[in-house]
Symmetry: C2
Subunit: 348 residues, 2 copies
C-alpha cells in the first residue's frame, strides 16, 4: 500500500532537493510546483519519479542551474527561445507564457525552444493557456530514442508526444496527452520500477516478437500507434519541435537516462490559440460542454461502463490526489529517502 | 487494366463538368486543378472519384456555385473565413493563401473556415506553403461520421485527418497525410467501387467483430489508430477545425454521401509556419535532407525492402502519373461517361 503524500509536502521536498543542488530558490519552487502537478495529474512516470535523474544530471554538470534564456528569433506571432541548458520546466513555462502574451495580440502564436531539457508531461504546458480562454498545443522531442523508423531497427525516433488542452465551461478542460508510441517510455520505466510485466503491443524485440519484460526494454523498440501513421506523427512532431528549433533530432538525441553529462539540446514547441480571435470564448466553452455531453451520452458497446473524454481520468485523479495526497510506491519512497540523505536535506 | 488519362485531359474534363453545372470558369479551373492534383498524388479516393457526388450536390442546390467569402474574424496571425457554402477546394485555397500571407509577416498564422465543403485530400493544402519555404499543417472535420467515441456506438466522429508538409532541399517535401482512423473512408469507398474486400482492422461491426465487406460499411464503424489515442486525436482535430470555427461537429455533421441538399457547414483549418521566423530556410531544408538520409539508411527488419518517409509514395506516384497519365478504373470511367452524358459535355 503506497503512502499518501500531501502535494505541499512533496513540492517542498522537491524544492529542498533542487535548492540543495544549487538551484536558485525561486526557480526550484517553480520546478517543484510543475513536477508536483504532474504527480497530482496522475502522470506517475513524469513527476517526482524523475527527480533522482534530474539531480544526477545536475550534479554531473549536465544541466545549467542558472540559465539565461535568449530570444534568438522574435516575430509578432512566433519566437525561438534558447533555454541555455536549463531545466525544461523553466524553459517551457517561459516559452508558454511568451506564446500566450503574443497570442493575445495576434490571435495565434508558436514558440519553439532549443537547449531545453526534459520538462515533464506534455499536458503541463498545454493546460496553462486553457486557464485563460486559450487553447494550448505542445510538442516535444522525447528525451531518448526508443523507436526506429517504420520497418527499420536503428533507434532514430522517440515517443515524441503531443498534448492539447481545450477549456470547457461547466466541464473540465478536454486534455489530450499522448505519446506517438503505443506506450510512453515513462510507463515502461514505471513498470520496471514496480516489477510488473508490460502488455503485449507496447514493445517488440529486434526479431519483431512481443517484448513484455520491462527490464529487457533496452533490447527492443516501442511500437508507434497505427503502424506507419504513428511513425509519421513521431517524425513530424520531432521535426516541428526539434529540427525547426535547431534542437537535437534523430542520431543527435542524447539518452538522458543513460548519460548524465552530455548537453541534451532538447527541443519543444508550444502553439497557443486565443479563442476570442475566432469566437466568443463563453460561447465556445459552452460548445465544448456540449461536446462532453454528446460523447458521454453515446450508446455504449457491450461491457463498456463509461465513455471517457481525453483528460477525464486526469481531472479525477487530480481531484482525488489533491484531497487525499499523492500515492508513492515503496520503491520510489526509498529512492527519495536515499536522495535526501545524499543531498543532506530533510526527508519527505 | 485501367486506362491512363493525361492530367491535362482529366483537368479539362472536370472543368467542363463544373462549368456545365453553372460554376464560373475561373473557379471551375481552380477546382479542376486541385482535384486532378489529388489524382496525380495517388489520392484515388479524393480526386475525380468524388466528381459525381460534387455534381449531384451542386445540382440539388446543396452547394453555392457563386460563393462570396467573408472574413468573420481577422487578427494579425489568425482569421476565420466563412466559405458561403462554396466548394471546399476554393474555400481552403483561399484560406491557405491568406494564412501564408499572414505568416510571412507574423512568423506563424492559423486560418479557420466554416461554411466550407469537402475539399479533397488534406495534403493538397498542407503542400501549398511547402513550395514557399513554409510548413503547412491542415486539419479538417471529415464529411461524414463513421466512428463512435471509444467504447461507444453512436456515430459522432469522422476520420478527421491531419496533413503536414515540410520542405527539403534535394529531397521532396516530407508529406504526412493521415486519417485518425486506421483507414480513411475514401479507401472504404474505393474498395467498394473496386469490389474488393477490406483488410481486418479497418472496421468493426456493432458487436465489435471485424467487418471486411465494404458494401456493409454502413453497418459498422471505422477504428481509430491506437485505440483511445486515435479517438482523442479525431476529437481534438474536430474541435480545432470544427467547433472553434462554428462549423459542424458531432451530431451536426451532415453525411454528404447520403444527403445532397443539406448545407454541410464543413470546418477546416490551416496552420502555416514561416521557416525564416525560426532559422535560415536553406539550412533547415538541408537539415530535412539529413532527416531523409538518416531514416532511409536505417538498418531494416527482416523482410523489409525499403524504409519510406511520409509522402515518399505520393511523390513517386505523382512523377509516374505526370509522365504516364492517371489510371482510372473501368467502373469509374463508366460513371464519368454517364456524368458527361447527363451534363451534355464532351466525355473524357
Amino acid at each position: 500500500m503506497p503512502n499518501l503524500i500531501p502535494a505541499t509536502d512533496l513540492s517542498a521536498f522537491v524544492s529542498r532537493c533542487l535548492t540543495a543542488c544549487g538551484m536558485p530558490e525561486g526557480d526550484a519552487a517553480k520546478v517543484a510546483t510543475l513536477m508536483t502537478r504532474a504527480d497530482l495529474m496522475g502522470q506517475d512516470g513524469h513527476g517526482v519519479f524523475r527527480l533522482p535523474m534530474y539531480v544526477r544530471r545536475i550534479l554531473a554538470g549536465g544541466m545549467n542551474l542558472t540559465p539565461s534564456f535568449a530570444l534568438l528569433q522574435d516575430r509578432p506571432a512566433s519566437a525561438l527561445v534558447d533555454g541555455d541548458n536549463g531545466m525544461g520546466h523553466l524553459v517551457m513555462q517561459h516559452a508558454t507564457e511568451l506564446a500566450m502574451e503574443k497570442a493575445r495580440k495576434t490571435g495565434v502564436a508558436w514558440v519553439g525552444a532549443r537547449q531545453s531539457n526534459h520538462a515533464g508531461p506534455a499536458s503541463l504546458y498545454a493546460m496553462l493557456p486553457a486557464q485563460e480562454n486559450m487553447i494550448g498545443l505542445y510538442l516535444a522531442v522525447g528525451s531518448a530514442n526508443h523507436m526506429p523508423p517504420w520497418g527499420g531497427t536503428d533507434l532514430l525516433l522517440s515517443t515524441n508526444p503531443i498534448a492539447v488542452a481545450v477549456p470547457a465551461l461547466q466541464f473540465p478542460p478536454i486534455v489530450l496527452d499522448m505519446a506517438t508510441t503505443v506506450a510512453a517510455y515513462g510507463k515502461v520505466k514505471t513498470a520496471a520500477q514496480r516489477g510488473e510485466p508490460m502488455p503485449e503491443g507496447w514493445m517488440i524485440d529486434r526479431d519483431g516478437k512481443p517484448l513484455t519484460d520491462p527490464a529487457r526494454a533496452a533490447e527492443g523498440f516501442l511500437l508507434p500507434i497505427g503502424g506507419a501513421k504513428g511513425y509519421g506523427l513521431s517524425l513530424i512532431f520531432g521535426i516541428l519541435a526539434g529540427v525547426l528549433n535547431g534542437a537535437a533530432f534523430g542520431r543527435d538525441v542524447v539518452d538522458f537516462n543513460a548519460d548524465a553529462e552530455t548537453v541534451t539540446n532538447t527541443g519543444q514547441a508550444i502553439l497557443v490559440l486565443d479563442i476570442a480571435a475566432f469566437t466568443d470564448p463563453a460561447r465556445f466553452r459552452a460548445d465544448i460542454d456540449d461536446v462532453w455531453r454528446q460523447m458521454k451520452s453515446s450508446e455504449r458497446m457491450t461491457g463498456v461502463d463509461e465513455i471517457r473524454l481525453p483528460g477525464e481520468r486526469l481531472h479525477r485523479v487530480m481531484a482525488k490526489r489533491t484531497a487525499d495526497g499523492i500515492p508513492l510506491p515503496g520503491a520510489l519512497q526509498e529512492r527519495l529517502a536515499t536522495l535526501a540523505t545524499e543531498l543532506g536535506v530533510a526527508p519527505l
